[in-house]
């Protein structure tokens, strides 16, 4: 680029840079700064104490473990169901447009509202899910499975609500990806006598790889940060069975008033998320490399 070109580029870049610095870099800096000070008054420098507390806290590891289970479980199920739905819709059967709009509807609902809906559905006294399972004879009584009050199922219930809410997103992205695959590849495969499975395995999936990686990456970060659905369903309970890092940070900051500790937790959370994304992108898909 010539000097004036570079100057023009800089000029175009500066508003965005200013915005980023004001609303991103500066708050991040404050976050790091807060994490190095004590939680009670915010004025005493404690260095890495907050981090050490976090890394030696049982609650932190439990929340981290729950977060991992939640993310891996929810995202993988969403991926599979989303892929199936996308493949189905891509065949363009009669009424597929209507079906697509129908499938997209959970995405239009605010997560908080979705959480409330599921809270009522999963209720053991009034909820339709248990009533339905009971009528089908799959459970002994509507109170056999306490979705939200049993430690074994609390996290699962949150995952179910989240899967219902965001599978449409996966479906949409994958559908767009599938529709982007050139038809000539399929024609060539047909000529060579490839079966349906082979077409899917050797053409569809590899072509979808960048799309899948992006969708999974976005969903992973989103799922890790889930808060409203969990909060409205179980508030992180019972007994921290569904406590994710996000609910733990919220409790620490808003309820216990420990700004320093909460900041340290947030920084750790950010580091974990960035490393996972980094590994993901380096190993699976680097947008700068030419497509293989």
């Amino acid at each position: 680029m010539t000097k004036s070109d570079r100057r023009t580029a800089l000029l175009f870049f500066s508003p965005a840079a200013g915005f980023m610095i004001l609303f991103f870099v500066y708050p991040m800096f404050l976050l790091v700064r807060d994490s190095l000070f004590d939680s009670k008054t915010g004025t005493e420098f404690v260095g890495a104490d907050n981090y050490v507390n976090a890394l030696t806290s049982e609650r932190f590891y439990k929340s981290l473990y729950n977060t991992v289970i939640f993310v891996v479980g929810a995202v993988s199920i969403e991926l599979i169901i989303g892929l199936i739905l996308a493949l189905l819709l891509s065949t363009g059967f009669k009424g597929s447009n209507f079906a697509r709009t129908l499938f997209l509807s959970p995405l239009m609902i605010a997560p908080l509202v979705a959480g409330l809906i599921w809270k009522f559905m999963l209720n053991d006294q009034f909820g339709i899910l248990n009533s339905f399972l009971f009528k089908l004879g799959l459970i002994d009584s509507p109170q056999s499975i306490l979705w939200l009050s049993d430690e074994r199922y609390a996290l699962l219930s949150c995952m179910i609500a989240d899967i219902w809410l965001t599978t449409p997103f996966m479906m949409l992205v994958l559908l767009a990806g599938i529709q982007g695959i050139s038809g000539s590849l399929y024609e060539a495969a047909n000529i060579d006598g490839a079966s349906r499975m082979q077409r899917f395995w050797y053409i569809t999936l590899p072509s979808l790889k960048p799309v899948i990686v992006v969708a999974v990456l976005i969903r992973m970060i989103d799922a890790a940060r889930s808060f409203d659905i969990i909060w409205v369903l179980t508030q992180g309970g019972p007994n921290f069975a569904s406590s994710l890092l996000s609910t733990m940070i919220y409790n620490t900051m808003a309820r216990y008033n420990q700004a320093g500790y909460a900041s340290a937790l947030s920084i750790l959370f950010i580091i974990i998320l960035i490393s996972i994304c980094g590994i993901f992108m380096l190993r699976l898909w680097n947008p700068n490399k030419k497509a293989v």
């Binding site: 009670k40 609650r59 209720n123 053991d124 006294q125 009034f126 009971f134 002994d140 009584s141 509507p142 109170q143 306490l146 939200l148 009050s149 049993d150 430690e151 179980t234 508030q235 992180g236 309970g237 019972p238 007994n239 921290f240 409790n251 808003a254 309820r255 216990y256 008033n257």
Partner: protein
């Protein structure tokens, strides 16, 4: 054609910009209820509106505090020339905003109505109100109601209403001749609202039944609170007081006492009702006052130990299917008699407010209209109101409330800086662990005591 298209695009663009601005603004005050009276968080210093200025009041949206503030705003303005700006947010939003105000000291709020639980955390940012407590005022309030607002010897809040759990029961079931006969036969004494732990268990067990033999319980005797919030802890502490607890949760020496006999007995009592007698709905770990009341109002529960004001909606046909059939009685008594943890709300003034004198006038103003809270929620603070209104049948719960609140074992929760953390990290998990059967009450409370001491040691 292309001209129309351009106009169309321009309209869409303007709408997008407007909606993103509005979304950004509403994001700040996303939880406002009410018809537009609620607004901005920096209204305190806005002298442009009323000629006398204005005060900003922070209340829980939809709560009686909100309703009364709204209903009396006009009158206050006529009386003093000051406009009352009401900011309504969800329950914990009040705590969050006052907390933020404590640190920012921006003078955003001149008055707020808060839950007694928040005093320890907010005390350093509240103005003392001792001067408002004349002898006349003090004589019309229960002593432990006044003490609830005392931190470090200073009174930081004026009670607006007091509340505690009392007994609400199905009069029609208890007065039915057939039920009375069956109960007398089975238990050997007359069926009436229980007054002791044993009677409570008996009655609850008696009324738990599968009336149509379809395998599901159609009626439960009572409900047990086990949800992941402070309500469950309050319920358990009620019974701990009845069993003889003295200083709640933390003893004189600052060490946890939750694993001593009264607390363990109380937790065992609740666990037995739930797991042994099975006279409460199994989903207790996700049930608190609202969920239990819902079952009661649907005719699926014979009695409930609920916050006193639930009596009013229980007899409202619009809310409850058993309206007109609900009776009230004082809280049950344990070994050491009747006792409860009261749940009062107080009006406070942030120390950073720039209009403290006007705010104090506002508090006085609302104190004189304390009966309006009675109309809004069914409870009030002043003894005179509770006693006279208790004579009316629709407010008969006030008698039960008065008896319960003046019982010798009725004590406030402790003023602890880390109360929120203690409740969330130690007490709620202990209650839930015992109710779920995972740990015995003694084990669960031993662990809780350890955690409390750790937190207190910070």
């Amino acid at each position: 054609m292309s001209y129309r298209k351009k106009i169309g695009l321009a309209v869409v663009a303007v709408m997008l910009v407007l909606s993103s601005i509005l979304a950004g603004c509403s994001g700040k005050n996303a939880n406002n209820t009410g018809e537009g009276t609620a607004n901005t968080s920096n209204a305190g210093n806005n002298g442009k509106e009323a000629k006398g200025g204005s005060i900003t009041v922070l209340v829980e949206g939809g709560s009686p505090a909100f309703k009364v503030a709204e209903a009396t705003a006009e009158q206050f303005k006529t009386q003093t020339g000051y406009e009352v700006k009401i900011e309504a947010v969800p329950y914990i939003g009040v705590y969050d905003k006052l907390n933020a105000e404590l640190k920012a000291k921006a003078g955003s709020y001149d008055a707020a109505i808060i839950d007694i639980l928040w005093f320890p955390a907010l005390a350093s940012g509240l103005a003392p109100l001792d001067e408002l407590f004349s002898d006349e005022v003090k004589s019309d309030l229960y002593p432990n109601l006044i003490d609830g607002a005392k931190v470090d010897g200073k009174l930081l809040g004026m009670p607006v209403w007091t509340n505690s759990k009392t007994m609400l029961y199905r009069k029609d079931l208890f007065e039915d001749a057939k039920e009375k006969e069956a109960f007398q036969k089975e238990y050997g004494y007359e069926l009436k609202p229980p007054a002791t732990w044993q009677e409570y268990r008996d009655v609850a067990k008696f009324f738990t039944r599968d009336t149509n033999n379809d395998g599901t319980m159609d009626m439960y005797g009572t409900g047990v609170l086990g949800k992941n919030n402070g309500d469950s802890v309050a319920s358990w502490l009620d019974h701990a007081l009845q069993a003889g607890a003295d200083r709640l949760v933390v003893g004189e020496d600052g060490k946890a006492n939750v694993n001593t006999k009264p607390y363990v007995d109380a937790l065992e009592f609740l666990t037995k009702v739930l797991r042994e007698d099975k006279s409460a709905p199994e989903g207790a770990l996700n049930m608190a006052s609202d969920e239990i009341a819902e079952l009661f109002w649907n005719g699926k529960m014979a009695m409930m130990l609920e916050w006193g004001h639930f009596f009013v909606p229980s007899n409202d046909p619009a809310r409850s299917k058993v309206a007109g059939k609900v009776g009230t009685a004082p809280m049950i008594g344990g070994e050491k008699g009747v006792g409860v943890v009261p749940g009062p709300w107080y009006q406070v003034i942030p120390a950073s407010s720039k209009k403290q004198d006007i705010a104090k006038q506002y508090i006085q103003f609302l104190y004189e209209r304390n009966d309006q809270y009675l109309a809004a929620i069914g409870v009030a603070a002043r003894k005179s109101i509770l006693e006279t209104s208790g004579q009316k049948p629709e407010y008969s719960h006030l008698i039960s409330l008065g008896t319960t609140l003046s019982a010798p074992q009725t004590k406030n929760r402790p003023v602890l800086e880390h109360w929120n953390e203690i409740e969330s990290e130690a007490l709620i998990p202990a209650v839930q662990a015992a109710l779920s059967g995972k740990k015995s009450p003694q084990e669960a409370l031993d662990e809780a005591a350890g955690i409390i001491n750790e937190i207190q040691g910070q």
